[in-house]
Symmetry: D2
Subunit: 365 residues, 4 copies
């Protein structure tokens, strides 16, 4: 893998360098948890001008009214939610973030792209490359299959060069990010058996979105832990797609999500059978360092400590640690991230920065 | 105040002693938090036979299916939710618990009473004696004003004798219980100024019921504390009604409820200006002891410790402590209870025990 | 008590039937979380008379003073913590529960057994059969290796007959219980490959005990999830010992404990590679039913729902569910228990009931 | 930096304007919760250079090792905790923050001031003006009574001009800030009776500090609410001192702190008897607006919403709302703040900004 400097250099070669004017952005569906985080990050972003926010439910209200914690921003006091059409949005902003439910984002992306906007989508609608795979996991045909090939999977540490030239970025899900970043370096270097992967994930409740459902009431989640979506979660589609690219062949994994009583954070524990060369702990460490030593947002813990969501919540960082078990021979890799930041809106801003030629950490530190 | 023995003696005089057969009971609206607690308590009650449970939503399902934690009970495996009419219910059971939303219970109570059943209502529908006061606080006319005078306010430590002869018991709300039990002895003995009362209450989220509303989502409640319903909460109607009886004159109080991130529990801190005789700490302690020393479910902490909800959650106990502040001259009284038990379903069972001539603690220890 | 005795007699014909007198019991080290739970359960047990409780720290105080939630019990008001020697304890009680830290229990057990008492130990001191294995995992020689062979592993669903005749019961740890009950039926029936087992466990903070350590402060645990003890936790010794017995050969597993912000509860997710016959879902279900259909405290969820700690917290039940993944071919088994009850004190009472010829559920429902 | 300077100059014409060089700062006792927050804020402060951090316990370790969440900062990787003497510290930094326990800060302040440093103290050691009052509430004589008159109470919205010229700033406690900011405008304008004030406060557990004590274990705090320190808390000394200044005469208040299970946040509910002119709601609103309409960090909610700690946690804002109760005539005022930020370290940075001539919001938005 090339060094970060090389990649950054490539970015500067490939991407048009922005002038010092601010980029106008809009957030569609800004009333959910990821939408709120996007707005919060964009309000303090040095290169972004938040030009429009949409919400059917809150149309006419100011940002400050709906999100009291943002109420001190001048923009939040002035900017009102609207319910405009895609074509109008493309006139208001150059880059549009879609923080919409699965199946709704697809309706906005086409018109926005046609109108000349760039789109950063946080839903699952454009993450899958093959329409058949989409249909298999989402149980209905994709509504705009021709757009799938145009979308870039927005995991910067893996697809930075493509993101820099993209017009449609499909930001990864929270679980996929927590699994892909730890697993890809190991598969690329053939350090683990590709059919041995088990991912056990624990997610905070904000991952379920701001939805008025009994299952996510305080009393139903507090003092409770539970697995769900066993054995087949939709996120498997994008996870296996990306792992297969890294492995150079089809990868199928075991994935079990669990709901735990925290607002934010995902802790994923991965189990692998190492290959012959993967039994050497130096090779494991070297693979992680080669991939991530220069990545600002990946924190390799090496032999010192283990991940803890409280060290990453509120930030765009992901912590990764690993242990080779001398008794069983298995490799255990653990990651911790904020599901709403590195797992959603923070990563979307990271993509935005790459796309627009800003410093990749702009607005994120 | 008479001793417990005297009261108990009166009960035995006034109440028909039950034979050893079990009392058939039904729970209407058993799918909420108080309904679930009622069912749990009744399943293990030595004198109750749970004959029917109703829920529109869950009709046809067994108790075991809906409440997995009860699944080991033979009755829970067999008993199915139904959606029967009041008249039918009265054929199935002798005592009917209504765990229905405010405004719905009133529709069931009349028909049930006419059909000969006894009714223990956990809603606010029959707690107010005067229809005008009801209208003032609930903003609509009472649907069955003639029943108001027949209802007994189900606070056993205060109205035990009446409960024993009642056919319609209106169980107090969770906040009122936490305020009335500490305040009534002080008002009765003229130890505090009746216009000086401030009640600051903190409630767990189950107090809001099992309702799919955004405000009660885990993420909205966790890591949050907030007042609500300021300055006028509906529970004031019943609180002031009962305090006025104790004081022998109109009492108006200040009451501020707050939502805190616990499943269960209410902690109320009360502030009083003592009267001249109330400035004597011995008088305060004596008043509490006279009222509650023989009450099983009231735990007077005196000088030792302060209340903590974790000491009462899961039980029908209420803890009460008090301190006279030598600097300010004010009296501070604190109480802690489980809002679903002493504040709702546990108290309803306590009333049931009195009503049916069981030992008052039956099924509650 | 007659019915208890009759049932016990029927189940274990070789057990001496107890008379109807109460059994005198003592709890050594009653100030921790498991000690408090033991005391709570024993106070309401129909066949137990709590004759002594010890605590160096609280000697002279009553139970009611130290544990306010028990303050209504007459015994709790009267019984004081003492700091007596084992020999004296054996005079006060017939069955002694040891709720002591690892390494301390071993000092009490020998003298108590010699003095004629029966001992139910909740520590790890007598769970391992082989002194060498103990030394390997606990890093020091066992202080009473001759007692190891006399101890019975107190998992009633697996070792009921032995428990009934035991004089020294070593109650399983909380993690082991959550792993052994799901795994043993599968290994016994050769339905899973014995080298394929991965156990990912999530534990509430009470599992760490009532210890004043920074790691377990509210602020350090709340809004946090973290793995720990990777890859080698001491509980592996007893887990692998018991699994090896079930498999009829050495079993080595992968086990990762995690700390989550709940007071109580363990949720374990197990991953297995099924054997050829284990690929038949009917065989899996049949194995679980054969082992547990008649076990009161094991709740098999089958195809309906998935385990949730909130359904078992406060009870001695363990929930078990399983899924064969048609994509990967793996078997996923999930369990949920209360770490302080089925994982500690509840199970100890279950053993006590077997040992003394009480109904096995006495004091536990 | 120019604009910061210009703004500061405009606001405080008598303050020396800083040059554009960074100010060297040190944090003494950086291992607690307030110390960690100070370090976090200073690392991202545009005008501060963190030159030294001290901790006896962690001497020799880097910031990154001890606080993993800061590990991405270059300074955090390089800067090591030391255990140097005050005199040495004064050579390393121009402004020294003391995040030490009560009674320890006093030992550092004198030597530091003598050596020419400016001191911002977060302890209670210099908040009280009169040594006798200190002795009354802290039960021992003050160790450096001559310094008391030199200290400025660091509540910027009230004492900005003095802070700008101070050499020793005594930052207010978390409870005092939540009480003083709502109460002072009302007392200044004679809108409330000065003997009528009741403050009921709810605090997150971080307020107790990072101390290994049983009372603050997760299991002891989670699912628990409890009052403490009733009726006399040490913070009363500084609260009443500042309120008396505002009222122009001695003020004595009732104050009850409670511990609730959140990491951060204080919610205070205040009860007042309005004076004759205070019965006019317009006067109340006008008083708050007159005091705070131009204060960045005070968010007046007026008639719209009520405070919620989740809207201020992680920020230096305080939310204030008020309601005149038409039934009782009382005025209820509610405030919400982050106890570690506006209640401690954020406020200390705000003072630092004033002291050094930076924009008051530098590093805080």
């Amino acid at each position: 893998m090339q060094s970060f400097v090389a990649i950054a250099a490539r970015r500067n070669t490939h991407c048009a360098v922005k002038n010092t004017e601010k980029t106008k952005v809009a957030v569609v569906g800004a009333s959910g948890y990821t939408g709120e985080e996007l707005v919060r990050l964009l309000l303090r972003h040095p290169g972004a001008e938040l030009a429009a926010i949409t919400s059917r439910q809150f149309a006419g209200k100011t940002l400050a009214e709906i999100f009291p914690r943002l109420a001190h921003h001048a923009t939040a006091k002035a900017l009102r939610f609207t319910d405009v059409k895609p074509a109008q949005l493309a006139e208001l902003a150059d880059v549009i973030f879609l923080a919409l439910p699965h199946g709704v984002a697809v309706e906005f992306a086409g018109p926005l792209l046609e109108a000349g906007a760039k789109v950063i989508d946080l839903s699952a609608d454009f993450r899958i490359k093959k329409a058949e795979m989409y249909q298999e996991f989402y149980a209905h045909a994709h509504a705009a299959p021709d757009l799938l090939s145009k979308a870039v999977y927005g995991l910067p540490e893996i697809h930075r060069t493509e993101i820099c030239e993209a017009r449609l970025v499909a930001c990864p899900g929270c679980y996929p990010t927590s699994i892909l970043l730890p697993a890809i370096p190991l598969l690329r270097e053939r350090l683990v058996e590709s059919d041995s992967i088990i991912a056990n994930s624990l997610s905070g409740v904000s991952g379920a979105g701001r939805k008025a459902e009994l299952d996510y009431l305080f009393v139903e989640c507090n003092e409770s832990v539970r697995p769900y979506g066993v054995p087949r979660h939709r996120h498997l589609a994008e996870i296996e797609q990306e792992l297969s690219v890294a492995a150079g062949g089809a990868v199928m994994i075991q994935f079990t999500p669990h709901l735990i009583p925290v607002n934010r954070g995902i802790l994923t524990t991965l189990y692998f059978a190492p290959t012959v060369i993967g039994k050497d702990p130096k090779r494991i460490g070297a693979a992680f360092r080669a991939s991530y030593a220069k990545e600002t947002f990946v924190r390799l813990l090496e032999e010192k400590t283990l991940p803890d969501t409280k060290n990453v919540v509120g930030s765009n960082f992901i912590e990764i640690a690993w242990r080779l078990d001398p008794r069983t021979g298995r490799l255990i890799v653990m990651s911790a991230e904020d599901n709403l930041l590195k797992g959603a809106s923070g990563q979307a801003i990271q993509c935005f920065n790459i796309l627009c030629g800003f410093k990749e950490t702009a607005g994120l530190l």
